[in-house]
Amino acid sequence: MRRVVITGMGIYSCIGKNLNEVKESLYAGRSGIGIEAIRTEFGYRSPLTGILDRPVLKGVLDRRLRTGMAEEGEFAYMATVEALANAKIDNTFLENNEIGIIYGNDSSAKAVIEAHEIIKEKRDTTLLGSGAIFQSMNSTVTMNLSTIFKLRGINFTVSAACASGSHSIGLGYMYIRNGLQDMVICGGAQEINAYSMGSFDGLSAFSVRIDEPTKASRPFDAHRDGLVPSGGAATLILEEYEHAVQRGADIIAEVVGYGFSSNGTHISQPSNEGCLKAMQRALDDAGMKPSEIDYINAHATSTPIGDTNEAIALDALFSKTRPLISSTKSMTGHECWMAGASEVVYSTLMMLNSFVAPNINFETPDEYSARLNIATHTENKEINAYLSNSFGFGGTNSALIIKKVI
């Protein structure tokens, strides 16, 4: 079986706009959460959000290449530029090699809403401009990045709610392992604007700890009251091992396990059985035992019921070995469609730099989280293999196992 390695990473998030900034934020336990006042004007229950500026791409990218890009596409562009540079892939390489793209994204609400507002006002679709259609589709990220980077391999978007980014890596891994591609750009992107989260806020799923924004996201803590939405993009370059060796690429880590499941139950309620099945399948795929996992980046979003179900599943599988666990969403908020990819970037940065980032704001365990070995502070520790969980609406679950290449 062909081996699949990571040879490049890039990140654009509320805790840093490149790998180095993000590594420092993770080590320092720095939160990227703040308040966006317009959400209150829009009637949101909670104005809390990850805070992230849009990159300025005028003068960087040709107008035609910018016009079809929504906010999440711009985030993904920034992350992908860094990842390609990290993987030592330049324009000449892009022109001479077949590279695919499988990227997670599950909305482009701002573009859709703005187009609708113009239609309502003008009653004329020809006044929407040429970019509206390309910005509005869920596949906006892959259609834009494949054009910008001249990609000629597999090309599609994974829409799997908050597991989109994780499944994108799982699928890229399968394409390479099965000999269909040598190199695939994987990742996840998430818009962060005030249009995009109103319907989610309407479920009363968001934290209203407005007086203390940086303490609002508190996965596994007994006093958690909901998640904090966030966004940005994360990109990983997945490559077949021998291909990477032959071109002299730096091999960052190896993807060794991908597990998935569908709960088949409620559209929004999680299932510990579904989580457990995905994790067990990832371990089976990797041919590894729970004792070989040194760190778990939990999905835990800071909702009461979601964290409880994941805690039950984690305890069922890891009660004997008790690896360190943290949810980086305590710092980043819930990066939704992006999270499964960004959390692989975060965890890989920890593995490369031998530390476990803290689950900040974990102050009081509840009945279920008390059974887990949750990192309350940054811990300097060698990580040889980690597990990263991602779960989404509709009961879609994904688990990835990443190892050091020794």
């Binding site: 016009t67 020809t126 006044l127 401009g129 040429s130």
Partner: protein, 81 residues
């Protein structure tokens, strides 16, 4: 609006918003071949013309417009008739 005002307004948005090279702007410049304006750019130009000049470009009327000078004349004919 005088023809010179139409020219100035048009050139300004072509340079600032459509990002046409300033040096390529001339009355006899061909929209597609010299200015590099493609079919999607024309969609955006229609939006800008509606905002700047208050009328809607009709695709069938644009069929005979090949050069920038003809485009100025087309706008002139629509707003000063």
């Amino acid at each position: 609006m005088t023809r010179q005002e139409i020219i100035d307004t048009t050139n300004e948005f072509l340079i600032d918003e459509i990002e046409v090279e300033k040096e390529s702007i001339a009355e006899d410049s061909r929209l597609k071949d010299d200015l590099g304006i493609d079919s999607l750019d024309f969609v955006d130009i229609a939006v800008i013309v509606e905002r700047k000049f208050g009328f809607k470009i009709k695709a069938e009327e644009m069929m005979s417009v090949q050069t920038l000078g003809e485009f100025y004349n087309y706008i002139d004919s629509k707003i000063n008739r």
